[in-house]
């Protein structure tokens, strides 16, 4: 850096610091957490306000993964509103965790918050609303009167096959699912109230006195305790298990009631019980009465007499014998609803004797939240955190990291910094052109290129941190789904550009790397919003059985993704060349040294692409041989990968044979962008084949637009040649017309 003058050095340092700040440091608009939060650990609870930070760190299980409540809050809002915040009536932002606390503890407040994004005019029309007048953000309270219409439209839309649904149908289904998700969230911590129509029936069997009474009871655990007391009576005297016994009919009612509540839970709040070997997380209903062994419709097929006698016999067993019997029944009598339901009833009556303390703590949280009792709320949060973390065991080790990671938004920060790099690189060329034209040396341009290079290194750190953060939380290799492939493709290309720029400080690699980096992060962001790919809003989803192999994910998937990434890079360098060539032609200058440099860059990077795409594809074949029994099955995704391999091979051979020169090479590389985009997304849109679990169709228009843009650039590359050809033709024509050859004017 010695060669720069103090002023230039100052600018360089300023820009570098600005980039670093965007990448790592605290600023509310960038993310609620900064790099420091990872080092600091959880902050101490505030005394004046609710300790929502502590609340957001409580572990729960959703989508098969143990995560902090913070992730659940952000992800559900992402599904409902495509944002990580809600809006209040004055359109002020409400942070996800605050919204979530209200949904769980004070639903009547949450119902007033604008939680749902509806931007389809016909779906709005369904409710008599207009985009221009009513906006696109709605609260549950606003939607509630229209639930009937929404449900019937969604049901009707569901009759159409997914590929044939129009945008109204898709949006109606999405909205319906969102409403369902919201209602499930509200009911996760407590069973939904019994409809008032049936109160007479309830009176008759005498269950009303068991129900929670806000006047007398401090919280719902009182109801659960009374239920336990009821089952205790039957354990004492199993002969009470009979038709018409008042105790037994009450128990049957509550077993049904709590079992139904299981279906209304969006996540599992209760950590595994201490001696559960399977480490299963529970919903409130499951903790009270266990899980229904079959769909509840199967209850109609039970034989009542046999059910009663089996249950009575089971309840009379000692707890240990009962556990063994239940296990045998569930293994050997899978088709026998009578025995299966008796096993659930016996478990609920005899084995589940306590009310889980976690339920009590959540109840306390709710009560203190509604009463605005900050001290009690904060004390309960810390108790709950301690208890739940302890019971969650191993699974909770990444919780605090994940909470900070959620707020850090490494990819949002990186994408902003990439834009900055691109601007700096462009400035460097402008400056170079300017100093060239006035005949001065281009020191400023050099400084800007150095700056872009250093910044690329810094962003790469933040991008890498983002990737490693995901790997640490998931315990998986970097690429596990379409979303993470986008993150990784950008990362790979930028890394390669950084290395190239080290040797060739031209700003080209920095600029192209930053375009690919920002572009792929933008694609990733849009993928995270696609509810068909990502129904829970969590991009760290669980891997289905065939993919559940870290070895193959780490080898085949990573290598093939690097192949995508390098092919894109070669393509973007091709684009850079086309623009350089057009610029030079327009200005009427000869192409300089850059032409050869770009050519050898494209060539060199395509060598990498071929290496990675070929090895990746063959490894994929070997994985397929391991899991599906054939090396190659002409599956759509496999074919896509093969297309990339062939295209890269074609580019190299075209250069070897001398058929393609710089421009030819550049256009072949640009077409490689189309091939790669097809392989990456296009094959998933076909919806055929074994890889179709990443099915998505929303990006079809974007893909077509991308393909057209690439074709247009290829056409531009040949435009000067075409123009020259036309001019030449015209000249010839004029020549012929002005001097007609004498022998043609025959008589």
């Amino acid at each position: 850096m010695k060669k720069h003058t103090p002023v230039r050095l100052g600018i360089l340092i300023f820009l570098t610091l600005a980039g670093a700040w965007v990448c790592f440091f605290p600023y509310k608009k960038l993310g609620t957490a900064s790099l420091f939060d990872f080092a600091k650990g959880p902050p101490s609870a505030p005394t004046e306000s609710f300790d929502l930070d502590g609340f957001s760190r409580i572990p729960v299980l959703r989508g098969g993964r143990v995560k902090p409540i913070d992730s659940v809050a952000r992800n559900t809002l992402l599904v409902l509103r495509n944002k990580r915040t809600a809006l209040d009536q004055n359109d002020e932002k409400v942070p996800a965790i605050e919204w979530f606390a209200r949904v769980l503890f004070a639903p009547e407040q949450a119902d007033q918050l604008k939680t749902f994004l509806i931007d389809h005019d016909q779906v709005l029309g369904l409710m008599g609303k207009k985009l221009a007048k009513d906006g696109k953000h709605f609260s549950y309270a606003e939607l509630e009167p229209h639930l009937g219409e929404i449900e019937s439209s969604a049901r009707e839309a569901g009759q159409t096959e997914r590929e044939n649904q129009d945008s109204f149908q898709q949006n109606a289904i999405e909205l319906y699912r969102g409403l369902l998700l919201y209602r499930k969230l509200k009911n996760t911590l407590a069973p939904p109230p019994v409809p008032s129509e049936s109160s007479e029936m309830l009176e008759e069997i005498g269950v009303t006195e068991v129900f929670f009474d806000p006047e007398k009871d401090s919280d719902r655990t009182a109801e659960y305790q009374r239920f336990r007391a009821l089952t205790g009576v039957v354990v004492e005297d199993p002969s009470l298990i009979k038709m018409g016994s008042s105790e037994f009919s009450k128990i049957v009612f509550f077993l049904d009631h709590y079992s139904r509540a299981n279906m209304w839970s969006e996540f599992f709040p209760i950590p595994p019980e201490v001696n559960d070997p399977l480490e299963k997380w529970l919903t409130v209903g499951q903790s009270l009465v266990g899980e229904e062994p079959l769909d509840s419709k199967e209850k109609r097929k039970m034989e009542p007499r046999l059910f009663i006698s089996t249950l009575r016999e089971l309840v009379s067993l000692s707890p240990d014998d009962l556990r063994k019997r239940i296990a045998t029944i569930r293994e050997t009598e899978k088709m026998n609803p009578t025995a299966l339901f008796a096993s659930q009833y016996a478990e609920a009556i005899k084995l589940r004797r306590e009310v889980d303390p976690v339920i009590g703590l959540y109840e306390k949280l709710g009560i203190s939240f509604r009463a605005n009792n900050v001290a009690a709320f904060n004390a309960t949060v810390s108790q709950l955190n301690e208890l739940a973390t302890e019971r969650a065991g191993e699974a909770s080790s990444t919780l605090h990291f994940e909470k900070s990671y959620n707020g850090f938004e490494p990819f949002y920060r990186s994408s902003l910094a990439y834009v900055l790099i691109f601007i700096i690189a462009c400035c460097s060329w402008l400056s170079a052109t300017y100093s060239n034209s006035v005949g001065k040396s281009d020191r400023t341009s050099k400084m800007l290129r150095d700056c872009a290079y250093i910044l690329t290194g810094i962003v790469l750190l933040s991008h890498t941190f983002g990737l490693f953060g995901r790997m640490y939380i998931e315990g998986r290799p970097p690429v596990t789904n379409l979303y993470s492939s986008a993150l990784f493709i950008g990362w790979g290309a930028v890394l390669l550009c950084f290395a190239t720029e080290k040797y060739l400080r031209l700003g080209v690699a920095s600029a192209m790397g930053s375009i690919i980096g920002a572009g792929s992060l933008l694609i990733a962001y849009n993928l995270s919003l696609d509810s068909s790919l990502n129904p829970t809003g969590d991009t760290m989803e669980m891997m289905r059985a065939v993919l559940d192999s870290n070895f193959w994910l780490a080898t085949h998937v990573v290598i093939i993704t690097i192949g995508y990434s390098t092919t894109f890079l070669a393509g973007f360098l091709g684009i850079a060349y086309v623009f350089y060539y057009l610029g030079a032609t327009l200005l009427g200058k000869r192409e300089g040294k850059l032409k050869k440099t770009l050519e050898s860059m494209i060539f060199g990077i395509t060598c990498f692409s071929l290496l990675f795409s070929l090895v990746g594809t063959v490894l994929g074949g070997i994985w397929a041989d391991q899991s599906w029994g054939r090396f190659w099955g002409w599956d759509a995704k496999e074919n896509g990968a093969l297309l990339i391999v062939i295209w890269n091979a074609l580019l190299l051979h075209a250069r070897f044979s001398g058929i393609a020169r710089t421009r030819g090479l550049a256009t072949i590389a640009i077409f490689g962008n189309i091939v790669t985009a097809w392989s990456w997304f296009g094959t998933n849109m076909l919806g055929v084949g074994l890889h179709s679990y990443g099915f998505m169709d929303k990006a079809f228009n974007s893909l077509m637009f991308f393909i057209l843009s690439q074709l247009a650039i290829i056409a531009f590359a040949y435009l000067p040649a075409l123009v020259n050809f036309v001019i030449m033709l015209a000249k010839k024509l004029i020549e012929i017309l002005s001097n007609p050859p004498p022998n043609e004017t025959g008589t």
Partner: protein
């Protein structure tokens, strides 16, 4: 290939080789390679698009396992109503694959320099030839079958996914079954079939690999070939069938049918109808009226025979017993994370061998590979996909060869590139 990098030794043998096989020169041309590669892209792209319409198996048969296929521009695409009617020939997999192998081999002989510097190039292309050749062999000889086992039971045969056979089983002796099976190829030829082991002749009246069938209630409502049936389930249940062309899609259910007459020295024994169930004939037992299709009895000269049209079977010299199955899901999701079958392989005279078959971990035994394919936890059965592919090792070896070659070659380039740059800087 830059001329400067040629070494004298490589060049001299190159000239000699060229003189030796002058007729190979056009076949070894790089332009031919480029053309073939471009055509392969067209083939693969179009065949992938076609999978939406005709399924993977259909596209495979039409394009990849043929010399050429005729393609029509899809009608639902832009301008489809005008372009759809134009037939476009697309070169097929056999043609392009074969030509590529020839092109590569010829290049090997007369274009490649046999020097250490180009050793990488040679390795890469050797690996590619192996891959291509291996794939051609695999497509020609690989056999796919399935094996269904109920929990606690064992099975000693596998059934092909495609292709049927008419089995005539002599079950007179409960201890020893005698099976005579007539393969699909013979049934397709039609005519009259006899065998030393059969006391009667089988005359094929109609055979097809797919049909629609329904129970029509009375004889008069039966249509087409099914009218003539006067014996067995086809007669008693009044089955009417309508022939249909075979469906190649991946979720296809092809019900093969066969109408045939049995005759012996005394004359006709009646006309029979049999249907094959695509998932195995035990599925007929699910519907009471058709249960007989799994086994239609006929008494003949004191012997009891059973007739059935079933998926082509292969008996194994060992049997596999299903001890248990496991199907686990991530909690609170519908995403499975494990399908697992616990099996015991029983061989004659030997102690059994226990094995766990789960995703990404198949069981390889005596040249066959058993993959976890389907599973039903409630009904306690598992289905394996069974594959015999003697050339399964080829891709593994070629992968290694190609990788070494690529690393070798690009290593050379990278080192040269870096050296050149550091020289320029200095």
């Amino acid at each position: 290939m830059s001329t400067e990098s040629k070494t004298k030794k490589g060049q001299s043998t190159l000239a000699k080789r060229k003189a030796l096989f002058p007729w190979l020169v056009p076949l070894a041309s790089l332009r031919l390679t480029l053309t073939l590669l471009s055509l392969s892209m067209v083939l693969i792209f179009i065949a992938t698009l076609e999978q939406v319409e005709i399924g993977i198996r259909g596209a495979q048969a039409k394009y990849f396992e043929s010399l050429f296929g005729i393609w029509h521009y899809p009608i639902q695409f832009w301008g489809g109503e005008y372009l759809n009617s134009i037939p476009i020939p697309i070169p097929g997999g056999w043609l392009l694959g074969g030509l590529l192998i020839m092109n590569l081999t010829a290049a090997y002989l007369i274009r490649f320099q046999w020097t250490m510097k180009k050793f990488g190039i040679q390795l890469i292309h050797l690996g590619i030839i192996m891959l291509l050749g291996g794939q051609l062999v695999t497509q020609a000889i690989q056999e796919e079958s399935r094996m269904q086992i109920n929990k606690g039971e064992s099975s000693n045969y596998i059934e092909r996914f495609h292709g049927v056979e008419l089995a005539l089983i002599d079950v007179t002796d409960p201890k020893q079954e005698t099976v005579v099976s007539i393969p699909q190829e013979l049934l397709e030829e039609g005519g009259s079939i006899s065998s030393e082991d059969l006391p009667f002749r089988v005359s094929v009246k109609s055979f097809g690999s797919n049909c629609d069938f329904n129970l029509v209630g009375s004889k008069d409502k039966r249509v087409g070939v099914s009218k003539e049936v006067d014996q067995g389930v086809g007669f008693s249940a009044n089955l009417s069938i309508k022939p249909k062309s075979e469906d190649y899609s991946s979720e296809a259910m092809n019900f093969g049918y066969l109408v045939f007459e049995l005759t012996d020295a005394t004359g006709s024994l009646g006309t029979w109808l049999t249907l094959s169930h695509p998932a195995g004939n035990h599925w007929w037992k699910e519907s009471p009226k058709l249960a007989g299709l799994a086994f239609q009895p006929i008494r003949h000269k004191g012997k009891l025979w059973g007739l059935t049209l079933r998926s082509k079977r292969e008996y194994l010299p060992y049997s596999i017993e299903l001890l248990g199955i496991e199907n686990e899901f991530y909690q609170g999701t519908e995403t499975p994370f494990n399908f697992e079958s616990d099996v015991l392989i029983n061989m004659d005279g030997n102690e059994g061998r226990r094995a766990l078959v789960y995703m990404n971990t198949p069981l390889r035994h005596e040249g066959k590979t058993f993959y976890q394919y389907q599973m039903n936890k409630a009904a306690d059965y598992t289905v394996f996909q069974v594959i015999r592919n003697p050339s399964w090792l080829v891709p593994y070896i070629s992968c290694i060869v190609v990788s070494i070659g690529l690393l070798w070659q690009f290593g050379f380039h990278l080192v040269r590139f870096l050296r050149k740059n550091s020289l320029q800087k200095a």
